[in-house]
Amino acid sequence: MKLKDIIACVDGQLICGESHLEDEIARGFASDLMSDVLTILEDDILLITGLSNNQAIRTAEMSDIRNILLVRNKKPSQSMIEMAKELNISLSYTSYSLFKASALLFQEGLKPVY
C-alpha cells in the first residue's frame, strides 16, 4: 500500500514526511513495546503505535523503519517532529485505536510481518 492510501484508510493526517506519501509499504507491525519492534528484521515496514515519544522515533531509526502511524489520537510533540524530520521518517496520526487502525489496514491488504 502507498503511504497516502494508508493515511486515507484510517482517516489520518500526515504530520511530516511528505516525500514519503508515494512510498510503497508491504507490511505493518503494531506495538507499543519498542523492544518488540527491535526484533523485526524486515525493513521498510509501517510501525503502528500508541507510543508517542522520542523513543518511538529512535527505535524506528535503529530498525530502518521510515514510516510511523500514531494511533489513539496521540499527537507528537515538537521535538518528536523535529527528530523525525532530521531522520527522514514520516509521521502520521489517526484517532482510531491500535486495533481498529490495524484491522482496517489489514483488510486493505497491508500484510503482517508474522
Binding site: D32, L33, M34, S35, D36, L38, T39, L41, D43, T49, L51, N53, N54, Q55, A56, R58, T59, E61, M62, S63, D64
Partner: protein, 140 residues
C-alpha cells in the same frame, strides 16, 4: 578503529544518541544494511539498559576488517540474577521506563539473538561488563 561513547544514567532525552552516532559510522564503512541492523539493535538495547538500570557507563567499540567488538561497561549496581535477566519477559524496569516503551524484559534476550558472541560479567553491588562480538562476513 576505536570509538567510545559515554552513557549517562536515567537521562532518556539522550537515549539512542550513541547508537545513532555509531550507526552513522557503520554506514560510512559501507557495511551491508542487514549487518548494520543486527549490530545496532544489540548496541541500542545495551545503551537503553545502561540508561535505565545503571549508574551510567561507557560503550567502547573496536572495529577491524572481519569483526566488531562492542564493550558496554557500567558503574553498577550489577545484575543480581543473570539467569533471570536473560529470560524473555523478566524485567526490573520501573513504570517510568515502561512508559518509554521499554522494560518488557526483551533487552538481554534481543542482544543475545543479535550478536555472534556474548559475554556478561556482573554481580550484585559491582559493575556490569558486557562484551558483544559480531562477525562481518555475511553468512553464505
Amino acid at each position: 578503529m576505536h570509538q567510545e561513547y559515554t552513557i549517562p544514567a536515567q537521562d532518556f532525552s539522550v537515549a539512542g544518541v550513541a547508537s545513532s552516532n555509531f550507526k552513522q559510522l557503520l554506514k560510512q564503512l559501507n557495511l551491508p544494511p542487514k549487518v548494520i541492523k543486527r549490530i545496532i539493535v544489540a548496541v541500542f538495547e545495551a545503551e537503553i539498559n545502561v540508561i535505565a538500570h545503571s549508574y551510567g557507563g561507557k560503550i567502547i567499540c573496536e572495529l577491524s576488517e572481519d569483526t566488531i567488538t562492542v564493550e558496554i561497561i557500567d558503574t553498577g549496581p550489577g545484575i543480581p540474577n543473570l539467569d533471570l535477566a536473560m529470560k524473555e519477559g523478566w524485567s526490573t524496569a520501573t513504570e517510568e521506563i515502561q512508559e518509554m516503551g521499554y522494560g518488557a524484559g526483551m533487552g538481554l534476550p534481543n542482544i543475545k539473538k543479535s550478536c555472534d558472541r556474548l559475554s556478561i560479567k556482573t554481580k550484585a553491588g559491582d559493575h556490569t561488563h558486557i562484551t558483544l562480538g559480531f562477525d562481518l562476513k555475511e553468512e553464505p
